[in-house]
């Protein structure tokens, strides 16, 4: 793993010592090179793991997420070029440093063997994200957004620390490979339910679960584009990844503890999808759609069946790429019109046709059009949920329809119809933006061909 972590850390001196006109080129190209060197990690069989040291390992659950993380850094750097162009050079370099730091922590998180190390880095990812949101965000509300983001996550994860330390004391080790053999606690004790809650709440807040999701629309909307991208694509998946790892050792309490969260997720998935239909702010719409998709992932992890785990991992990767792409598209709109309101910038298909093609593909992916990997994730989850309870198909079916409704609503409002007069002289699409969209889309399209790589450990 050091072959990934050390070059990523070295991106920081690269940013600070680059010549000013080579700053963006250097950081983008080297981070792209790092992401390519990570690809060989995929070369492993599905139920085995590659143990690189006592600290780091990668298996077929963490590898796709790891690859998503390293793939996203060059994309984040490319997306931030425009809104940072007016800032002084040291600020630009500081911003790149924040992104790289976040990247390092995320790589280490996804490849951590020891759960305490996972926890420390899980918390550590909050700091660069908070700095990015509050320092470089758009509006005054970003301070509020940063506070919500920070305190929701901290409040959720403090019990997790206690639970981890307790487990370390009682089991002796928190090595992920060993705890699968841990003796299960008795189900009669209140304490084991509390332990379960302590483990899970941090990840529930991170996912986010419907009742605890208030921080997400604020943070996503107020964050700068790189912040939104990394939040939507990766940080939400930290919750899912954590849950997937921890549920291994939490049986059989999980059998009855999951019901409230399943109900919240089922209901919340429909609620947030419906909220999307009434949103006027583009970024807010994409943020709420994230909550809706992640509710599916929570449900899948809660019911703990092989199909649902496969669906959850596929959905995490697919949603990461799609959501990040939608945020980039929304940002390209925002940079031109300086407003996030959808109705003020309509009919863009006439003016920016290539961007309209990206919008179309992203929206179609978002509504889980076959044969995309979004569909694979959703379908696996839906099927597993149906076998868990026949009635849930009603809610899941309604959600699928509403997802299609709001994705198409977003597409039609921004792209189709008569264009508003005042956007007829916006700048045409930059090559950088088109590259960005293409780089988001290429993994999505290629994974359609071989989705086995993202189906996780149970394939």
């Amino acid at each position: 793993m050091l072959k990934t972590i050390l070059p990523t850390i070295m991106l920081i001196p690269l940013a600070w010592l680059s010549k000013n006109n080579m700053l963006w080129i250097n950081s983008t190209m080297y981070s792209l090179a790092i992401s390519i060197t990570c690809l060989p990690l995929m070369n492993l069989s599905c139920d085995n793991s590659l143990n690189m040291s006592l600290l780091f390992f990668s298996d077929s659950l963490s590898t796709p997420l790891l690859l998503l993380t390293v793939w996203l850094l060059p994309l984040m750097i490319m997306a931030s070029q425009h809104h940072l162009s007016k800032e002084p050079d040291s600020q630009k370099k500081l911003y790149i440093t924040m992104m790289v730091l976040l990247q390092t922590f995320l790589i280490m998180t996804f490849s951590a063997t020891e759960l305490i190390m996972f926890y420390i880095l899980f918390e550590a990812t909050l700091v660069p994200t908070l700095i990015m949101i509050t320092r470089w965000g758009g509006q005054t509300e970003r301070l509020n957004a940063g506070i919500y983001f920070l305190f929701y996550t901290l409040a959720g994860s403090l019990p997790l620390l206690v639970a981890l330390v307790y487990t370390q004391a009682s089991v002796g080790s928190l090595n992920l490979l060993l705890i699968q053999y841990w003796n299960h606690p008795s189900i009669q004790v209140w304490g084991s339910s509390a332990l379960w809650l302590a483990y899970m709440m941090a990840f529930m807040v991170k996912m986010p679960l419907y009742g605890l999701h208030l921080w997400l629309p604020k943070a996503h909307v107020e964050a700068p584009i790189a912040g939104s991208m990394v939040l939507a694509a990766i940080l939400l998946k930290l919750g899912g990844y954590g849950m997937l790892r921890i549920t291994v050792m939490l049986n059989p309490i999980t059998n009855f503890m999951t019901y409230p969260f399943l109900m919240l997720s089922l209901w919340g998935m429909i609620m947030t999808s419906s909220i999307c239909l009434r949103q006027t702010d583009l970024k807010s719409l994409i943020a709420y759609s994230s909550v809706s998709h992640m509710a599916l992932v929570i449900m899948a992890i809660m019911i703990q069946s092989p199909w649902s785990f496969m669906g959850a991992t596929a959905l995490m990767i697919a949603h990461g790429l799609t959501s990040s792409m939608l945020f980039c598209l929304a940002n390209s709109n925002y940079e031109r019109t300086h407003s996030r309101t959808m109705i003020l910038a309509r009919g863009l298909q006439m003016i920016l046709p290539l961007m309209a093609a990206w919008w179309l593909l992203a929206s179609l992916m978002n509504l889980a059009l076959p044969p995309s990997i979004n569909l694979i994730g959703e379908l696996f989850v839906t099927t597993a949920m149906f076998s868990w309870s026949n009635l849930s198909i009603i809610l899941l079916g309604i959600n699928i329809i509403i997802t299609a409704l709001y994705s198409l609503y977003m597409l039609i409002t921004t792209q189709r119809g008569k264009y508003t007069y005042h956007i007829h002289n916006i700048k045409p699409s930059f090559t950088r933006e088109n590259t960005l969209m293409m780089l988001h889309l290429t993994p999505l399209l290629l994974l359609m061909v071989k989705p086995q790589i993202i189906l996780g450990t149970l394939y």
Binding site: T341, L344, A345, Y421, N425, K427
Partner: protein, 486 residues
């Protein structure tokens, strides 16, 4: 509790000082300190805007989708219709910026408040027709929950235009157009005039047109406050400040004939606070120029008119302030309650004001005698020389009257053709105009607001087609002129 805390913190100092010496006179103002600390703590608690360093509640927000420069009746009307016509509701953030929150120099408050349909352009007639309908049903349009209804004091007494021999043919034509558009106007001969209005002297009058319905005068301040209240209930932000700068970006493009054009977009508006250097950059998608008499200056800030003359870039917004006087006099023998708003052949006009034999009137000066628009000082000699003689000739009872008071107000005078400018600028695509109505802006404000909101939201005029009022006519030289303005 806070007072106690503050006392404790500073207690030792004052006690020590008190014990050792009484001179020096350092008396801390506890109430002020306590309220300052309270304010700081309240702004740090969740729910309020968190500004740990200083209080910024007087500044406009950092981002707004639409910034309306000018908070008079036109600006508020645009804000009202934008919020009313937007689908879905609550989508657009609107900020109204006005330099003077007392409206001391705004044309709206100083206006005589007349409304008529007797124009010669069909567009003007349609605008006034809708505005009268708006005023009649003002409590359906501008109702706010738990607030009292508005009384806009609409006196439907009609307008009476008098024409001499020369102008009679034009007047007949105008009345035909007005009737076609649906205005209720009747033509009167001098005998009919004398029968209906015995106080009038029909010497020199060949024809008169009298508005039978939907014309009269109303209280402009009430309309302004009603719009303001309703617009605030829609969630529009108000800010007091002066627009000093637009941050624009330009791109060079080519027309189909190969000529180069520079198109601009406004990205930010700098709003400067009163009596201070502090300004707030407001990021915006659209700017609406409803600054009235000062619209020309605002347009220049956006770079409109900066270019070689004769080109589209070099075409300025030809709106400038023109001062007009209004005089209030008392005449005990004057015309009674049925007096319409009379516009004489000479250009002087008057109307009844209230129920105590008071009358408002004035006259538009000729081009040579235009008063200096630098201030709003009233020239009383103008009344003696230019307003009183024609009015006294027309209404013999006015030969003895006493001037009670007088004031002056600005017209947002369009030097090109004295009619409004509505719609977007061809080059600075996100600046829309709603200005330049040269004295009939107040009466057309509700309809113009709706037209601009339709242009912004849908890209075209839906209800009243004001395409002849677009900015491009200044470049193309197509004047849309009225006959007989007041």
């Amino acid at each position: 509790m806070f007072r106690g805390a503050v006392w404790l913190l500073a207690g030792r100092g004052s006690l020590g000082r008190g014990l050792s010496t009484r001179s020096g006179g350092w008396t801390p103002d506890w109430t002020e300190k306590v309220s300052e600390i309270k304010k700081k703590i309240q702004s740090a608690l969740p729910g309020g805007a968190w500004h740990p360093l200083y209080d910024t509640s007087h500044l406009p927000p950092e981002h707004s989708d639409v910034v309306i420069v000018g908070g008079g009746v036109l600006g508020l009307s645009v804000a009202y219709w934008l919020k009313r016509l937007e689908r879905p509701q609550g989508a657009i953030k609107v900020l109204v910026v006005d330099r003077d929150h007392t409206y001391s120099q705004a044309s709206t408050g100083l206006s005589v408040g007349g409304i008529r349909q007797q124009f010669s352009l069909p567009e003007n007639i349609q605008l006034s027709l809708f505005s009268v309908d708006f005023l009649r049903n003002i409590n359906e349009y501008l109702a706010v929950v738990n607030d009292p209804p508005l009384d806009v004091q609409f006196n439907p007494s009609g307008y009476l235009f008098l024409a001499s021999e020369k102008g009679a043919a034009i007047m007949e034509n105008n009345v035909k157009v007005q009737r076609q558009e649906g205005a209720k106007v009747c033509l009167m001969t001098p005998e009919q005039l004398r029968n209906k209005f015995p106080w009038i002297n029909t010497d020199g009058v060949a024809l008169a047109s009298y508005g039978l319905e939907g014309e009269g005068w109303f209280d402009p301040w009430c309309l302004l406050q009603g719009l303001r209240r309703k617009v605030q209930s829609f969630g529009v932000h108000f800010s007091q400040g002066e627009v000093t700068r637009f941050i624009t970006s330009s791109s060079d493009m080519q027309t189909t004939s190969g000529k180069g054009v520079t198109m601009k977009r406004i990205h930010e508006v700098h709003v400067k606070m009163d009596h201070s250097l502090e300004y707030q950059p407001v990021e915006c998608a659209l700017v609406i120029n409803a600054a009235g008499a000062w619209s020309g200056q605002v347009a220049e800030l956006a770079g409109i008119g900066k270019g070689p003359p004769g080109t589209l870039e070099g075409t300025k917004l030809p709106v400038e302030p023109r001062k007009r006087y209004v005089y209030l006099w008392h005449c005990p023998e004057g015309p009674g309650l049925e007096t319409p708003f009379v516009a004489d052949t000479s250009g002087a006009y008057f109307r009844r004001e209230g129920l105590g034999h008071n009358y408002l009137g004035g006259c538009s000066p000729t081009e040579e005698e235009e008063p200096d628009p630098g201030n709003l000082e009233v020239d009383h000699d103008f009344f003696q020389n230019k307003v009183w003689p024609p009015l006294a000739h027309r209404v013999p009872a006015f030969q003895c009257l006493k001037v009670r008071s007088a004031w002056a107000g600005y017209y947002d005078y369009n030097t090109f053709d004295q009619n409004g400018v509505v719609g977007p600028h061809p080059l600075v695509s996100n600046m829309y105009f709603a200005t330049g109505f040269s004295g009939h802006g107040l009466q057309q404000a509700p309809a113009v607001g709706r037209a601009v909101a339709e242009m912004v939201l849908e890209g075209q005029f839906r209800t009243i087609d004001l395409s002849s009022f677009l900015f491009s006519r200044f470049y193309l030289g197509e004047k849309v002129e009225e006959r007989n303005i007041i």
